[in-house]
């Protein structure tokens, strides 16, 4: 291998309470397309932020073109030739395409004014080289997302980048746009530009990348040629499961037998949403925990949100025999559904309100008379659930933002349970909470299902999923790729389903 253009040696980064990167190394040669993969919290974004000067490492060194570097600001990294393409394009949407392409280095006329004619001409030529034919005088936002991304890419290359870091660049692109993007990436690599490619879409990695570095829990667990690593091994590296244990048979032996002859309470048919969900169908029975399995970005959370109407999607959702027509969270709650969202902070707690008010938030109308809240009714409910879920707070009047993550999660569970739902969708119910609370929440899920509640469980923790769920619907790239039930619910089978080659279309 030639002299690496980027050489990260033993970098560590600690945040209060967590070691985000632990002695991670990464080398990228000129012209190489290097895949950087890992599940949530693996440390990918921390590493990218160190490379681009957003963070400084606590230990270790970054060598760029043979020299040790320490970028103080993102701008320094950019000036040195390390460009980053984020999934959301960070350009100026209202300026013209050409202006965006030449921002900060516009060609000048003799009088020091911007030479618009030349700028537009050169912008058109540059983009045409990547197969993008657009009117460069139009504002950037009038372009499709894919074309915008291409402009960002063209800009990165035009400013003489040696390393281009691409963070999930295809997550919002059409398949055709993805093809164009890949062509450009290959051309860049042909010109000796090194590319660090972050994506959860395994198909893309295998199409595009030469080598791969797998991060898990802040540590580098593997680096090597991608072609020598099959999908199954890659997935087991990402998830931290031993590939040798994974059986390859059983892939075709999905038995669809149900836990019982109970009528499903929830039927989902053909749930679709552009780029995210492609015809998802499944059923959920009372008294059963149905798991939604899949890697990050497979559409698990989107499925749950679409079911409760928090995310617009086509398709049918039938709850207890009644098809939901006007879809909204309020309608879903009336139909007996409740969803615990993944992002506790952004979509769950109301930080300024007390534990009591957070618990009764959804049930408030039933706990009031003529629009005036009844404290007596509220206190009874709150007291019951604080005891039942063992919520540790100084008092029900304590602000919920002062509680630990585990107790906040229990407050949210209480919010939903006091509605007496018939179907509970739990998106990552134990993420980011301490071990004790985790065990309690898991026990509660079991108990609720035993009481006849239908539960949908989403978890990145394979062990939790396998132990918690009676049936698992496996998702990949927004589509159902398998369903496991009974004895087939094993970590191996899930990984096998995830590793299948995609159906050719």
């Amino acid at each position: 291998m030639s002299q690496p253009v980027l050489d990260v040696r033993g970098v560590s980064k600690r945040f209060p309470g967590v070691l985000a990167l632990d002695d991670v190394s990464l080398t990228v040669a000129p012209g190489e397309v290097h895949a950087l993969v890992g599940e949530n919290g693996a440390g990918k974004s921390t590493l990218i932020k160190i490379l681009t000067g957003v963070y400084r490492p606590d230990a270790g060194d970054v060598f760029y073109r043979g020299e040790p570097v320490a970028f103080g600001r993102p701008l320094d990294a950019q000036a040195a030739g390390i460009s980053t393409i984020y999934q959301e394009v960070n350009l100026v949407p209202l300026m013209s395409v050409a202006r965006n392409l030449f921002l900060g280095r516009e060609p000048r006329t003799r009088f020091g004014l911007i030479d618009v004619a030349r700028m537009n001409r050169e912008a058109g030529e540059q983009l045409a080289r990547y197969g993008i034919e657009v009117d460069v005088r139009l504002p950037l936002r009038s372009l499709g997302l894919g074309a915008q991304q291409m402009v960002a890419l063209a800009r990165a290359v035009a400013v003489d980048a040696r390393v281009v870091i691409m963070d999930e660049p295809t997550s919002s692109l059409e398949p055709r746009e993805v093809d164009t993007l890949f062509r450009v990436v290959r051309e860049l690599s042909g010109r000796g530009i090194a590319i660090v490619y972050v994506s959860h879409r395994l198909d893309e990695l295998y199409q595009l990348c030469d080598r791969v570095t797998v991060l898990r829990d802040g540590r580098r667990v593997h680096t090597g040629a991608l072609a020598q690593l099959d999908r199954l091994s890659l997935i087991s590296l990402m998830l931290g499961r031993d590939a040798a244990e994974v059986r390859r048979d059983g892939l075709t032996g999905f038995s669809a037998h149900d836990a019982g002859d109970v009528e499903p309470i929830l039927r989902v048919r053909n749930l679709s949403r552009a780029h995210q969900l492609h015809g998802i169908s499944f059923e959920v029975r009372p008294g059963e925990v149905t798991g939604l399995g899949g890697l990050l970005g497979s559409g698990r959370s989107e499925t749950a949100k679409a079911v409760v109407g928090a995310l617009g999607a086509d398709g049918e959702v039938t709850m207890a025999g009644r098809r939901l027509t006007r879809r909204s969270p309020a309608a879903a709650i009336r139909a007996g559904m409740a969803m615990l969202p993944e992002d506790r902070k952004a979509e769950g707690i109301v930080p300024g309100l007390s534990v009591r008010e957070n618990i009764v938030l959804a049930a408030m109308p039933t706990l009031s008379r003529f629009g005036v809240v009844s404290r007596a009714k509220q206190d009874r409910i709150v007291d019951t659930f604080m005891k039942r879920l063992r919520i540790k707070a100084a008092s029900p009047e304590q602000k919920v933002s002062e509680l630990s993550g585990g107790n906040q999660q229990k407050v949210l569970l209480a919010r939903w349970l006091c509605l007496n739902p018939r179907l509970l969708l739990l998106d990552e119910p134990t993420r980011g909470i301490d071990v004790g609370a985790k065990a309690e929440v898991q026990a509660l899920i079991d108990e609720l299902a035993a009481d006849g509640l239908a539960v949908v469980l989403i978890s990145s923790d394979l062990e939790e999923l396998v132990e918690g769920a009676d049936r698992i619907v496996v998702l990949r790239a927004g589509a159902v790729v398998g369903e496991l039930a009974g004895d087939d619910v094993t970590e191996d089978n899930i990984m096998t389903a995830l590793a299948q080659e995609p159906a050719h279309d």
């Binding site: 209060p16 309470g17 409760v308 309020a330 707690i349 109301v350 309100l353 938030l361 959804a362 005036v372």
Partner: protein
């Protein structure tokens, strides 16, 4: 994850002081100013002086109550001054039908403006500052069209009585402002709507997922704010004895926002301090009166008001970065 670990430490004294200041600072400042005036201002405790102060502050209090609710919803309503002008402009048009119908129509106009504001914010999804700016500009223009650009004298006895009369020595305007403060306090603290409003302001995404009628709550809040502003317009007209849509309610949006902010309601939403808002309005009124009584020019008073606003905002900021 970083916050969780930080929170286990006891807050340092500076932070605790800032929190105390935000919670009780405005009351302490009002008390200090009152004491100062009792000691150094002639005739301050005389009924006539107090009465003047209270009558002057009443419309600000009424508008600020509505503003506090809008700000609590993570919004802002810049159109309140124009709504006052609109309500002042329609009063003389309908006063021929009698006092009550005219007032009712003025309040309905305020409600309609609120519906427009609330719809722009919650359904169309405009930023509150932009949505209500439209009616800040357009509303006053419309008021001038209604009034034909003229000042019109009021001859209706009941309306004039409302502006100048009193009950047991308390002017009607002050009485109304006081009652409204109590009512709004009750609405915010004790009603389903009020608590939903605070929740929507605190975390709109979570409220939506919890099935709260987010749009209805937001529209309702802007309607309430509009009605309160219209009522302030009626009272101001009554006190003036004339409908003057070009002057009534000028810069009222800023006075109201000031009262709310100085009263300790954070601009980030999720908390509404009704009593603090009343105290904030009183504080700003007292500051001006005190300075003018002691022969400082109005321009100095304005600069001191600016300083108070900065202090209030600084204290609020301190708390958020805890």
């Amino acid at each position: 994850m970083t916050e969780a670990t930080v929170k286990t430490f006891a807050p340092p004294d500076r932070v605790r002081l800032a929190r105390l200041l935000q919670d009780y600072g405005v009351y302490a400042a009002v008390a200090l100013l009152v004491l100062f005036n009792v000691a150094f201002t002639d005739n301050f405790l005389q009924a006539a002086t107090l009465r003047t102060q209270l009558v002057q502050v009443a419309p600000v209090v009424i508008v600020a109550l509505g503003m506090a609710m809008v700000i609590g919803s993570e919004g802002v309503d810049l159109s309140v001054g124009s709504v006052m002008a609109l309500s002042a402009a329609v009063l003389p048009l309908y006063i021929g039908y009698g006092f009550w119908p005219a007032v009712l129509i003025a309040l309905i106009v305020g409600a309609l403006v609120g519906v427009v504001n609330g719809t722009l914010v919650s359904v169309v999804g405009l930023q509150p500052i932009v949505a209500t700016l439209a009616l800040l500009v357009g509303g006053r223009g419309l008021a001038l069209v209604f009034a034909d650009g003229q000042l019109k004298g009021i001859k209706d006895g009941t309306l004039l009585e409302l502006g100048t009369g009193d009950l047991l020595g308390v002017p009607y305007t002050v009485l109304i402002a006081g009652c409204l403060a109590v009512v709004i306090g009750f609405v915010v603290q004790r009603t389903t709507y009020g608590r939903q409003l605070v929740a929507v302001g605190g975390n709109r995404a979570a409220s939506h997922l919890a099935g709260l009628p987010v749009k209805r709550v937001l529209i309702g809040t802007y309607v309430l704010c509009g009605v309160l502003a219209a009522l302030a317009g009626v009272l101001a007209t009554a006190r003036l004895g004339a409908s003057d849509p070009s002057a009534i309610g000028n810069l009222m949006e800023l006075s109201a926002i000031t009262a709310v902010v100085v009263g300790g309601t954070p601009l980030t939403g999720g908390s509404i301090r009704v009593l603090g808002t009343v105290a904030g309005a009183l504080l700003m009124q007292l500051v001006r009166a005190t300075l003018i009584n002691h022969d400082l020019p109005d321009s100095a008073a304005q600069m001191i008001q600016a300083a108070i606003i900065l202090v209030a905002v600084y204290i609020a900021r301190e708390r958020r970065t805890r």
